[in-house]
């Protein structure tokens, strides 16, 4: 990285935001913050609040600098990138490493050998017997780690057909030369067991990434999905051993704490959708702080040195939680867009929630080019 790259990017971002289309939208709070205004007082529907980017070191520096200068009130890393890196971390756990390696050996060979590919296809058709066939093997992209779930799951679904294909090949008059590692991978019980155990978690993770990338996930989903990932590892996925699950637990924790921002946690704590499981999820600790600690940090940052405002905001949020616990929210109400989140509780508007409304409306996924600014 060249020195000053983040400055150059920041200048480009500023130039991109200063066009005529945004004349009614405040794209910087530097002047107000320099004048002593608290960040909370700057929330409004006509203000760009946050920046979400992926997280190479240059854009992390850009995010930090942009917030320090007051051009954005908060910044966070892309949730889909963070979840992809969880998949990357998972690949270092022995069972996932074995499953991925053996699956790739099979997939690469059958993708690159036309005769093997067509023989496998014919066997799949034969085994289906006119019914629904299993899907074909799926290739793997190094740039999208969560895709390993699809690769491994497709090998899992194809294992009977693969074994039959090798058998057919061995009995054919002109057999295809199948490399020994491929034969070993197809017939290995250890590999089959690893693939069977690794598939559920990786498919789950792929589903999370797919959902986040659909551009429809609100900011509250950022925390919600990572919490669910950890809770699922703790209570479900019993097909993986306890020791492996404990190893995996560290990955979402590490990625979440390094990519997110306390404001993201606030969005989660104010979204009625997650109400039914919020209490259960909130007890999970992320490193040292709990979600409540992160929420308090967000409130403290928003209120600056204004102690009374801080106390009022915390009381607002406690009131919101109490109302939600007492009354619950109907399923239809939980479907409200987060920017309308004051409506479902049907009570006097908690000010912190109302003012955060425009913030929680933003998506949890960012792609560079400033699309999700």
């Amino acid at each position: 990285m060249e020195a000053g790259t983040d400055d150059t990017l920041l200048e480009l971002l500023e130039a991109g935001l200063s066009g005529p289309l945004l004349r009614d939208v405040a794209t910087s709070s530097s002047a107000e913050l320099a004048g002593g205004a608290s960040p909370l007082s700057l929330f409004s529907s006509r203000r760009v609040l946050s920046v979400c980017t992926d997280s190479p070191s240059t854009t992390v520096a850009l995010r930090t600098r942009a917030v320090d200068r007051g051009q954005f009130l908060f910044a966070f890393g892309c949730a889909a990138h963070a979840a992809n890196l969880v998949a990357s971390d998972a690949a270092r756990v022995a069972v996932f490493e074995l499953a991925l390696r053996e699956s790739l050996i099979i997939t690469v060979f059958f993708a690159r050998s036309p005769r093997a590919r067509w023989l496998l296809r014919a066997v799949r058709k034969m085994l289906a017997g006119g019914g629904a066939e299993v899907g074909a093997l799926r290739t793997y992209s190094r740039t999208r780690w969560a895709g390993e779930g699809a690769t491994i799951a497709s090998v899992d679904a194809n294992l009977p057909a693969l074994q039959h294909t090798l058998l057919e090949n061995a009995h054919s008059a002109a057999p295809i030369a199948v490399p020994a590692p491929v034969t070993a991978a197809v017939n290995s019980t250890a590999a089959a067991d690893a693939i069977r155990r690794a598939s559920p978690f990786l498919c789950f993770l792929a589903r999370v990434v797919e959902h986040l990338e659909a551009d429809s996930a609100p900011l509250s989903s950022y925390t919600g999905l990572f919490e669910c990932l950890r809770a699922t590892l703790a209570k479900k996925l019993t097909v993986i051993s306890v020791a492996e699950r404990q190893l995996l637990q560290g990955a979402p924790e590490r990625r979440f704490t390094s990519f997110s921002d306390p404001m993201v946690v606030s969005a989660f704590l104010l979204d009625p959708f997650w109400g039914p499981v919020r209490g259960r999820l909130s007890v999970l600790r992320w490193g040292r702080p709990s979600l409540a600690d992160m929420r308090d940090a967000a409130v403290e940052r928003l209120c600056g040195g204004d102690v009374s405002a801080r106390a009022a905001r915390l009381a607002d949020m406690a009131g919101f939680a109490a109302i939600e616990t007492a009354h619950g929210a109907l399923l239809s109400e939980r479907n409200f867009h987060p920017s309308l989140l004051v409506a479902p509780v049907g009570v006097s508007v908690p000010r912190a929630a109302a003012r955060s409304g425009s913030a929680v409306g933003y998506t949890a996924v960012g792609r560079w080019r400033g699309e999700n600014v």
Binding site: E133, T139, P179
Partner: protein, 126 residues
């Protein structure tokens, strides 16, 4: 029909000038959507989140997590997957990742032909 098409708001392309949208258009688009009652009124949380919530709230399932959607049928997949191109869920349609995937595929094909399957896998895992 053309009048209707011009009224469609998109984050991908400006239908009036036939140019790709920029960062400003994206912000204007998002801000406008947050002010439209018809858009907010029809909003529904994604099925993926509902499934997660049901799984965690009820805890009555078999223990199996939410699964990824089944892959497309063999007929749909074979040509694309086996040509070396990736499937739709695995790549952006127009992003740089697509080019990276293509470069990977070319490198894997070359190494597979010269050094064998294990060397090609080592490259993918590097």
């Amino acid at each position: 029909m053309f009048k209707t098409l011009k009224g469609v708001v998109t984050t991908r392309r400006n239908r009036l000038t036939n140019e790709r949208v920029d960062a400003q258009s994206r912000i204007i688009f998002n801000t406008s959507l947050l002010r439209r009652p018809d858009v907010l009124g029809t909003y529904r949380r994604p099925d993926a989140e509902h499934e997660l919530l049901a799984m965690l709230h009820g805890e009555t399932g078999s223990g199996a997590p939410v699964q990824a959607p089944p892959p497309p049928s063999a007929a749909d997949m074979d040509d694309a997957a086996m040509d070396g191109s990736s499937d739709g869920s695995d790549t952006d349609s127009d992003g740089p990742k697509c080019m990276e995937q293509l470069a990977d595929d070319i490198a894997v094909a070359r190494i597979f032909d010269t050094e064998g399957v294990e060397a090609a896998v080592d490259l993918l895992l590097s």
